[in-house]
């Protein structure tokens, strides 16, 4: 019995660490798509946000500021950079009515190339070391709660708590505010929204910029949680988040469930040798790694007839065609 708890105490923090950035970035994708703009640039936005955030954090480490404050600054910086970078996608897809896939592909290619280019010039290598351990060893009092203590409050990341707050705020915003309703309307039926006086262009900008903020922050969280250095990539995590969004059927609750599931699979892929019961069944880690993508394909194949995808996502809005 205690062995089971040991395993869970080992696995669940890892699953949470994967789940937080996955669900936040997927939520970013949701905001963009629900406003009517397909955003497959999540990967590139993550790289850009992660790059600038980590560079700033590394610079601040020497200043002697508390590490958690630095990580907060890093996360906010990542979000801001994400907003700026996503603005390029919004400009192309909303203002210029361009092909959203092409614009996003350009952003996905640009971010890793630029970050590696700059890192090589300034650091002489494409690897940027974090220069610190940003985990919170123990949250006072809370860490002694049985079961939850070791899962949520020991060796935890600031981003986990921040992520939970952001997720709650974002859902409230999307479903309980006027602006949230407008975002959803612009992805479903922009003509109707426009006829009621909603500025479709502005709302779509808002959707894309929010997705930039979430993906940019997700990039910083990714590096903090899974790596000790930044190497100009988030290893397909942005596309995995896209799969989470689709598997979650463009709904926050669905995203949460999908994120739990995909995060678990991801952890098994990376740590199955340490899991009793799995280490004897020799399924290669690649099988686990490709599982989320295959499952998403299967879901798409069997659910596309009654898909929950926003109806107007991917279509540039042209007021003249109303």
């Amino acid at each position: 019995m205690s062995e089971l708890f040991d395993t869970l105490n080992f696995l669940i923090p890892l699953i949470i660490a994967s789940m937080v950035p996955l669900s936040l970035v997927a939520l970013g994708g949701l905001f963009s798509e629900r406003s009517g703009v397909v955003n497959i640039a999540l990967e590139g936005i993550m790289v850009m946000g992660g790059f600038v955030g980590i560079v700033l954090m590394r610079t601040l480490v020497d200043s002697g500021l508390p590490l958690q404050l630095i990580s907060l600054i890093g996360l906010i910086t990542g979000a801001l950079v994400g907003v700026l970078y996503a603005a390029l996608h919004a400009f192309a897809s909303v203002t210029m009515k361009s092909n959203q896939i092409i614009s996003a592909t350009a952003l996905n290619l640009f971010a890793p190339a630029l970050s590696v280019f700059i890192a090589r010039i300034f650091y002489g290598t494409s690897n940027i070391n974090l220069g610190g351990n940003y985990t919170i060893p123990e949250v006072p009092v809370l860490s002694s709660i049985p079961v939850l203590g070791p899962w949520l409050f020991t060796n935890a990341y600031l981003s986990t708590y921040l992520g939970i707050v952001i997720f709650a705020v974002a859902i409230t915003f999307l479903y309980k505010t006027k602006l949230g309703l407008r975002i959803r309307a612009c992805g479903e039926n922009p003509q109707a929204a426009d006829s009621l006086g909603v500025n479709v262009y502005k709302i779509r900008y808002l959707g894309v910029l929010i997705s930039g903020a979430l993906a940019g922050m997700g990039g910083v969280i990714f590096v903090l949680s899974f790596a000790t250095r930044f190497q100009g990539t988030v290893a397909g995590f942005g596309f995995l988040a896209l799969a989470v969004m689709i598997f979650g059927q463009w709904k926050p609750r669905g995203i949460l469930l999908a994120a739990v599931f995909f995060a678990t699979v991801r952890v098994i892929a990376n740590a199955y040798t340490a899991i009793p019961g799995l280490q004897n069944i020799s399924i290669p880690s690649e099988i686990y790694s490709m599982l989320p993508y295959i499952i998403t394909l299967v879901v798409l194949a069997f659910a596309s007839k009654n898909s929950r995808a926003p109806k107007a996502a991917g279509e540039p809005y042209d007021a003249g065609k109303r």
Partner: protein, 374 residues
């Protein structure tokens, strides 16, 4: 009365030819992309920026025929992935899965290249075809999903890219793994695409018969699109799927065939990339960039096979420039990727540029007409 001059003729030509305006938009994208590269160099290292920039543009002319050979060597896989993206695009499909098809093809080509040494002098041909077949299979999947289940081919291809990447890693590890260097074995010498007379002609560059494959595929796709009923149907489905069905065309079959052919071409690209000495399949989890560069080349080439061929060769010259950039200045070749990304972004805005070009030309023509009447 003012005589008509060559300027009027030129204006008329551009105003009457949408292709000419589009080509102009492509050139704007290239110039814009290069400017982005220059600005980034100027910001980061002004002292070397112009030296670096001229290396990118003129690096091609450094080493005579050898550079020309290497330019074509770099261009071949990109021409093929570009053709793959362009061909699907003509059927109204966005093949973002070129990288997955390429990876899938590359694995099977190398697998045959390592193991089937009994084939003798046919070895490299069979390995090449294995890559094409595997790529075709991987392209067929999103085609079928699109045709029968109405799954968006972009999303399906993105998922398949990662499945192909992990599949290749897994298969390399279990079948053709070179333990001591932690990567795949290279293909046997008989499976390497021959260099033939290019060896002496281009002064020992890496160029091989892959170039003929690129030419052949360009010609075949051009003939299919321009001269056959099948090609006409593909384009028709691309313009309007519903109308094509109404006209009695089998749009499902056409979608599947278009994606299968696109996949085959990407698979050939993968085979050509890895059936050479000195390049090995790795077990790193990275998508191969060549599939995405194909999107840039396809956009610049206006999705026409011959346009893609020209744009691909231009890409090859950039790549050579990037090589010398690293050798002669401290800039790293990632700058080329930055330029490519900027070119794709500006190409996305192409419609806007086309309108601007058209309006400016129209204005100039009107002004000249007015001057004539005065």
């Amino acid at each position: 009365m003012r005589e008509k001059t060559w300027v009027d003729g030129l204006l008329d030509y551009f105003l009457n030819s949408s292709t000419a305006v589009k080509v102009l938009a492509s050139i704007i994208a290239i110039v814009g992309g290069l400017i982005v590269g220059l600005v980034i160099m100027l910001i980061l290292d002004p002292s070397r920026a112009f030296a670096g920039f001229s290396t990118i543009l003129f690096g091609l002319f450094r080493n005579g025929t050898q550079s020309i050979g290497n330019m074509l060597y770099y261009a071949v896989p990109i021409i093929l992935t570009g053709l793959s993206v362009a061909f699907a695009f003509r059927t109204g499909l966005f093949n973002i899965g070129a990288t997955g098809q390429l990876t899938f093809g590359a694995f099977f080509a190398v697998y045959v290249g390592v193991n089937w040494t009994f084939l003798g002098s046919f070895h490299w041909v069979v390995a090449l075809l294995a890559g094409g077949l595997a790529g075709a299979f991987w392209g067929m999947i999103p085609g079928m999903l699109k045709a029968f289940r109405n799954v968006n081919e972009v999303v399906a291809s993105i998922m398949l890219n990662y499945v192909a990447m992990y599949f290749s890693t897994l298969m390399v590890k279990t079948t053709i793994y070179n333990q001591s260097v932690a990567r795949a074995f290279g293909p046997a010498e008989s499976a390497q695409i021959p260099k033939g007379f290019f060896e002496t002609l281009t002064n020992g560059s890496s160029l091989n018969y892959g170039l003929f494959v690129a030419f052949l595929v360009t010609a075949i796709l051009h003939v299919i699109l321009a001269k056959t009923t099948f090609g006409y149907q593909l384009k028709s489905v691309g313009f309007n799927r519903d109308a094509s069905r109404y006209a009695g065309m089998n749009e499902k079959r056409n979608i599947i065939l278009a994606m299968t052919i696109a996949g085959a071409v990407s698979g050939l690209a993968g085979a050509i990339m890895f059936l050479v000495p000195g390049r090995f399949l790795t077990i790193e989890s990275n998508l191969l960039q060549e599939g995405f560069t194909g999107i840039a080349v396809s956009l610049l080439g206006l999705s026409s096979p011959i346009g893609v061929l020209i744009a691909g060769i231009f890409y090859g010259s950039l790549e050579i420039g990037g090589f010398y950039l690293q050798v002669t200045t401290q800039f790293v070749p990632e700058l080329i990727e930055i330029i490519i990304a900027a070119i794709i972004y500006i190409s996305a805005l192409a419609l806007f540029f086309q309108n601007i070009i058209y309006k400016t030309l129209k204005k100039r023509k009107d002004a000249r007409l007015e001057a004539t009447h005065e």
